[in-house]
């Protein structure tokens, strides 16, 4: 008891252990698992990060079905900062997908949505913070639909290709037949 009392007296005179947050900033330690940043120029659109993301915070929307053009979108408020996407990214070493050491400010009712090109398309298109969740739900639906559309398009293209191939084959066969018939005719015409 006496020892604890002495320790308490010591604590009374020593500097406080806690930081004066929010008056002094609380710095993130080195290697902190923060926001995921993306670089479109390096991306090869392999979709591995989307596939591996546990909460589904990374989504690719297919904006141009014909050319298979994709847009990366990221929801930093759904992200659990688990680092799985960066592990999965084949271009992570070059800086396509990196986990930065800073965190985004929390999203309040009246606060501004953070804007950064490297956060993906979705965040940059949202204006009002209070719409964020609703818009993300809509976006999820849209991304899913776009995926279905792409699948449909691919199927159609495949069918078309098959048909073309078939038509080509038929045409070839027909041409061959005709050629043969012609040769026959010619042979009949010139019995020699």
């Amino acid at each position: 008891m006496v020892k604890m009392f002495l320790e308490s007296l010591k604590n009374l005179t020593s500097k406080p252990e806690t930081k004066g947050y929010p008056y002094t900033p609380s710095p993130e330690p080195k290697g902190y698992k923060g926001t995921i940043l993306y670089d479109e120029d390096l991306c090869i659109f392999c979709d591995k990060c989307e596939e591996v993301c546990p909460p589904g915070a990374i989504l690719f929307e297919i904006v141009d079905v014909e050319n298979n053009k994709r847009e990366y979108s990221y929801n930093p408020y759904l992200c659990i900062y688990c680092h799985a996407c960066v592990d999965a990214c084949p271009k992570a070493d070059e800086g396509c997908l990196v986990q930065s050491e800073t965190r985004l400010p929390p999203l309040g009712r009246d606060s501004k949505v953070p804007k950064d090109k490297r956060l993906g398309y979705f965040v940059n298109r949202i204006e009002e913070a209070k719409d964020f969740d609703k818009k993300w739900d809509e976006f999820e639906e849209r991304a899913r639909e776009s995926r279905e559309k792409l699948a449909e398009h691919k199927k159609r293209m495949k069918l078309k290709k098959q048909q073309e191939a078939k038509a080509k084959k038929e045409a070839e066969a027909k041409a061959k037949q005709e050629a043969e018939a012609k040769a026959k005719q010619e042979a009949e015409a010139n019995p020699q």
């Binding site: 020892k3 320790e7 680092h83 799985a84």
Partner: protein
């Protein structure tokens, strides 16, 4: 004889911020009967693990079963899946995993002990314990990048390596922590008023511990030699200097002291890990999908954690069963109250360090 009163402990109680509720029937101050309710914090994690998540994502879900033993849940699942996939990890991965698991144990044990001191009315000591606990969480933050949800385990490896600079820092910090823990142990051991509240209170005898199949520090404080770290070899504990910590008193105080003993042992293990950490990859190649079934027992800070993992060769698991340590300790806790004083109930509950969000999952 005397007044019969029903006292409700929880589910909103200042001592324990979890939804457990005990309804005590008391006669004067002595508890004569008790009913337990673990509360409705069931989140359907077992179902989500077999429906919504692919097998290589389930560890992130299971890590969120509990804040304190998050690494244990992830580790148990990953050890199981690695067995099913036939993955052999190298020494470096095993060592790094052990380091994080033991640091997790240190911070959980320190909090549990501080919490007991707090409910005994000794908030001063609580603050002191939490102050020193901060060292372990800081180390964890530097190794894994997060304070609570580490997400350090990946299938076939760990998510990041230890730099030389960090290693040096961790070594000095751990040695510092050991000094502090020894000091705290002295306070717990010699303090007269804390002794009144903890010594001889809530005694789990050796026979009781065996009869009710208790686990973790609660069993070891009663002299029951059970520890999944000694019984299972998922991590190389033996070569890292693990020693089972046993006390025989079985009271609240002994449970605290077992936790402190284990903290000291864990610090030794961590230092041995840093000494023996060699070179090597931190990720081995993993192929295929899990098929078959396996049983895993790992030691969480609160006791042994049991997992049953079954895969069927598809992307989604067939069954993931989680049995958390608190689950093993609730039956004996219920028996323990009968005959003890109501004023001791808080200290008894907190000395068990219950985690109800784990229990209900």
């Amino acid at each position: 004889m005397g007044n019969k009163i029903t006292v409700v402990f929880g589910s909103q109680h200042i001592a324990i911020p979890e939804p457990v509720s005990f309804v005590f029937q008391t006669e004067n101050e002595i508890i004569t009967d008790v009913a337990v309710d673990v509360g409705y914090v069931h989140r359907g994690i077992e179902q989500a693990a077999v429906t919504k998540f692919k097998f290589n994502n389930v560890q992130y879900l299971l890590a969120r079963v509990c804040g304190f033993c998050s690494i244990t849940h992830a580790s148990a699942y990953i050890h199981g899946v690695e067995k099913l996939l036939g993955v052999e990890t190298n020494k470096k991965i095993d060592y790094l995993r052990t380091l994080v698991v033991e640091l997790d144990r240190i911070h959980s044990h320190m909090l549990a002990n501080g919490h007991v001191a707090e409910v005994c009315g000794y908030e001063n000591l609580f603050m002191q314990t939490i102050k020193y606990r901060e060292i372990s969480t800081e180390i964890l933050e530097i190794i894994t990048g997060n304070r609570i949800q580490y997400d350090y385990y990946t299938i076939g490896g760990v998510s990041r390596d230890l730099t030389l600079e960090n290693e040096k820092m961790i070594r000095t910090r751990l040695k510092e922590l050991r000094e502090h823990v020894l000091k705290l142990m002295e306070f717990f051991e010699t303090d007269y008023t804390l002794g009144l509240k903890t010594k001889g209170v809530g005694v789990v005898t050796y026979e009781m511990a065996k009869k009710y199949n208790t686990a973790g520090p609660i069993a070891r404080a009663s002299g029951l030699k059970t520890d999944a770290r000694a019984e299972f070899d998922f991590l190389p504990y033996e070569e890292l200097g693990y020693k089972m910590q046993i006390r025989t008193e079985g009271d609240v105080w002994a449970r605290n002291m077992v936790r402190f003993d284990e903290v000291l042992n864990s610090i030794d293990i961590c230092l041995n890990v840093l000494d023996g950490l060699g070179e090597g990859d931190i990720q081995v190649k993993v192929k295929g999908r899990p098929k078959g079934e396996t049983f895993i027992r790992v030691e969480a800070p609160r006791g042994e954690c049991f997992y049953y993992v079954k895969g069927n060769g598809t992307k989604v698991m067939e069954r993931v069963r989680v049995r958390v340590p608190t689950y093993a300790n609730v039956p004996v806790l219920k028996e323990l109250f009968v005959g003890s004083k109501y004023s001791d109930a808080q200290a008894i509950v907190l000395s068990f360090d219950p985690c109800l969000s784990c229990t209900a999952r």
